[in-house]
């Protein structure tokens, strides 16, 4: 029997654990105006997202559409300058087709900064009344999509926080949830052991190919997915970081390989391939942790487990982030930002299983509405940049 709570019912049948209004700027030139609109709603669930580029990008358009129709989102206000390339009509149709309230304000036609802010705030005020009427219905663990990421990693991440997150994934998958792990650039050297966990040999080949693509991509860039702080925290090579990160995936079979924006079709464990296809075009695959979090949210993640050793303080727009601190010294220094102290494992006070169960229980209470530390502090980080992807092949989501 899967544990039940209450979710916000959307027209596509998916259910949300939050009911946010998002204000989305469609080019950096509209960012300030959009942020001024959001600033009028301190303490209410109105969040800022956006895309900075003036030039068109199919990936960004798809991710934006998936975010604006995410089950945690109740209504959308697009803010356009007017001359950018982003296809605002297509984006607006995607949202209106889902039955959500949507409006698009074009600054060049709306009378400039002050008038657009005034009109935008009036629209959001009225949309808050609309989204409050959304039906709340029973929702089970088997309807949850949960992502995991590690950031600000150090040598403790792979010993305490990541194995505990993996344990939580095992528990949640056994209850029917869909869980996503990602960053193929941080799975370099894990491809063979990972391929053995695939539900079919063909999927195993896809997993191997995804990591090999990441290796080639990073080799061209000249760096691995490795930040200076990783070395200060005791990690020496990308392989070492990879092996520590890999254990976040737990022990379940791997059900599929998805790309940003692909929603898992059923419960199970999914690897997200975040490294672009084709030649190296737009620089680093993910320029910071929030880029990866956004991609998992675009694939339907209701919340994200974020394991950190050095100490990240970020949250996210749209979906709550649960921060799991792997390093006991960091936990003591940044306790106000951390939801779970996995450093207890290193200091011998609790087992990996104990902390894994705590994380699983916290997922349920956050799904029931409890605020995470980053939510309560007001963290709503967001970043979306340029990428290129080919669609996934038929072997990536085997029917078994």
């Amino acid at each position: 029997m899967t544990e039940e709570f209450t979710g916000y019912l959307r027209s596509d049948g998916r259910k949300g654990i939050r009911n946010s209004i998002v204000v989305a700027y469609l080019v950096e030139c509209a960012h300030f105006v959009a942020s001024k609109i959001v600033a009028g709603f301190d303490g209410e669930d109105v969040q800022l997202i956006g895309f900075p580029g003036c030039f068109p990008n199919e990936y960004a358009a798809r991710v934006m559409a998936q975010l604006c129709t995410h089950p945690n989102v109740g209504a959308v206000l697009f803010v356009s300058l007017g001359c950018e390339s982003f296809d605002k009509v297509r984006a607006s149709h995607a949202v209106s087709g889902s039955g959500r309230p949507v409006e698009t304000l074009v600054i060049q036609k709306a009378g400039g900064t002050a008038k657009t802010v005034e009109t935008g705030r009036a629209w959001v005020r009225s949309a808050l009344g609309e989204v409050a009427k959304v039906d709340r219905v029973p929702m089970g663990v088997d309807e949850l999509v949960i992502g995991t990421i590690c950031g600000g990693s150090d040598g403790t991440s792979g010993i305490s926080g990541n194995p505990a997150a993996g344990k939580a994934f095992d528990l949640l998958i056994a209850e029917g949830a869909a869980c996503i792990f990602e960053e193929t650039g941080e799975l370099i050297s894990c491809e063979e052991i990972m391929a053995e966990r695939a539900v079919t040999p063909e999927l195993g080949n896809e997993l191997r190919a995804a990591v090999q693509k990441a290796e080639r991509y990073y080799a061209t860039l000249g760096y691995g997915s490795f930040a200076a702080g990783n070395a200060a925290g005791g990690l020496s090579t990308i392989e070492e970081k990879s092996l520590g990160a890999y254990v976040k995936s737990g022990d379940s079979q791997i059900s599929g390989l998805i790309k940003p924006g692909d929603v898992p079709p059923r419960g199970g464990l999914y690897l997200m391939d975040v490294v672009p296809d084709g030649e190296v075009r737009f620089g680093f695959p993910n320029i910071s942790d929030n880029a990866e979090i956004v991609e998992m949210i675009a694939s339907g993640a209701h919340l994200t487990l974020f394991v950190t050793g050095r100490g990240s303080v970020v949250g996210s727009a749209i979906s709550p982030v649960i921060k799991i601190c792997a390093n006991p010294d960091t936990y003591r220094a940044l306790e106000g930002d951390m939801d779970v102290n996995a450093g207890d494992i290193i200091e011998g006070r609790r087992s990996i299983d104990d902390v894994g169960r705590e994380i699983r229980d916290l997922v349920i209470s956050v799904a029931k509405g409890a605020e995470t530390k980053s939510e309560a502090l007001g963290h709503r980080e967001f970043i979306l940049t340029y990428k290129t992807f080919d669609p996934i092949g038929p072997s990536c989501l085997p029917v078994v």
Partner: protein, 104 residues
């Protein structure tokens, strides 16, 4: 147990510090006791036996890199004496885990 160090897998040739281990800390290794030549920060590694140049470094029972010089048992194993078999490691001059950041 080689406290304050952890052996994560029986095949490993490195140990991981479970707390900051001060300079001079005595560590019992298979080849005998050693004293740390310098402080080893939390989650950094030392060699649990002599490692020859070119040998693979094993942690979690898996290769994490290749020794770029001979590493005597008890020495700090890090970016100064191992390298990735895949892509180079980027670090600032705080990579020893004991000093503040800055450009090398």
């Amino acid at each position: 147990m080689t406290a304050p160090f952890l052996l994560l897998h029986p095949n490993d040739n490195v140990l991981v510090a479970r707390t900051l281990a001060p300079e001079g800390t005595k560590v019992e290794l298979a080849s005998g006791a050693i004293k740390l030549a310098g402080a080893i920060p939390l989650a950094h590694k030392i060699a649990c036996r002599d490692i020859a140049v070119g040998e693979r470094i094993l942690k979690y029972g898996m290769p994490i890199g290749i020794a770029t010089e001979d590493i005597p048992a008890g020495s700090h194993v890090h970016i100064h004496n191992i390298r990735s078999a895949y892509t180079p490691t980027y670090a600032l001059d705080d990579a020893n885990g004991l000093s503040e950041g800055g450009t090398q």
